[in-house]
Symmetry: C2
Subunit: 214 residues, 2 copies
């Protein structure tokens, strides 16, 4: 497998996998890059190019075998595995993350939750007992954890991210509204609804005239 | 202002604005594209290119005036305005969205919340009383709403999105794990932590050997 696959391509593969899973559920055997593109709002050319990095799927004019492509993507992305995560920050957002039903079925499991607030430490949330964040480094040394989820206030997020990085974590999901600094070999994704909203208001603004709020 | 600015550029502008706000808070007057790039993990060339679409900022070798650039970005993105949103879906996730403290200070306000579950309708959440989703079209006709937030289960998300689109909404923030279909003039952003996680496991997988879970 080639090693220099652009990160934007890697980021699109899970989207393809999800669309294929939906096609599988509908019993479809074959899908064209055109059909897949229509469904996802990307061009067929981009789908063909993205998948060509893995050098196995393209059959000109015949479409993709849904089951085979899905199986390949599962292998490539590690979708058939189980991943251990720690959550730091069990406020409102952290609670919602712990109770979110979408992680488990996809193999993502929070095995420990941490908070800096003594009032939260020791509380039970489902199967977990909240631990003090000062215990995080020790946990990272002793347990096999692959992913960190950061749900602390912005002011503390970089510090928590540093602790995760020092503990050897290479994949971080960050909900705090900051531009985090991580070494090159650490992957980080932002979940940031405000940035998403702000990237749409440009278009709304072009459409309307509204009173300014200074 | 040129009208054909790539959407990827528009999506990066709020990130620049947030970084500039942090620099403002630290009292910095001038920032180079190099410094801004280092902080955000993008190349200085990309920052210069992105901002050049708006044709006003670049001064070769002198850096950007932080306050002036921030003011321009606020204007371009409409960050100085107030935006009215409706939320559909008040389960665990919807509650977390309503109680999220990050929207209001940025001018984003949920003015009504809807749910399809009769057991939720009529409940008060903060200043809002949950309304039945069947009342959504009427609300969109009578109130000035600019943004829809979709936090319903995946199976109902496209239907809710269709209702928003039919009601004239041009900007949608979707938390449901689907690949939604919208007309070209409607902007939609996904908040999707599972996709974000799956786009990192590719790299974790390359680093380790793990037991497969079939």
């Amino acid at each position: 497998m080639p090693i220099e696959i652009p990160e934007v391509v890697i980021e699109r593969l899970p989207v393809y996998a999800r669309a294929l899973a939906a096609l599988q559920a509908r019993g479809l055997d074959v899908v064209s890059s055109q059909e897949l593109g229509d469904q996802l709002g990307v061009t067929p050319a981009q789908i063909r190019k993205d998948l060509s990095y893995f050098g196995r799927f393209g059959k000109q004019g015949r479409g993709y075998n849904v089951n085979r492509l899905m199986e390949e993507l599962r292998q490539i992305l590690g979708l058939d595995r189980s991943w251990s995560m720690v959550l730091i920050g069990v406020g409102q957002l952290g609670h919602a993350i712990l109770q979110y039903g979408g992680f488990g079925p996809q193999g993502f499991h929070v095995i420990e939750a941490f908070d800096a607030n003594d009032g939260e430490v020791g509380k039970r949330i489902g199967p977990l007992e909240v631990r003090h964040v000062s215990e995080l480094p020790e946990l990272l040394r002793t347990r096999h954890v692959q992913i960190g989820i950061v749900a602390v206030p912005a002011a503390h997020a970089q510090e928590v991210i540093n602790t995760l990085v020092e503990g050897g974590i290479k994949a971080i999901l960050n909900y705090a509204p900051i531009a985090p600094q991580v070494p090159e070999d650490v992957h980080i994704r932002q979940i940031d609804p405000v940035l998403a909203l702000q990237s749409m208001t440009y278009y709304l603004k072009s459409n309307e005239t509204l009173a300014h709020h200074a």
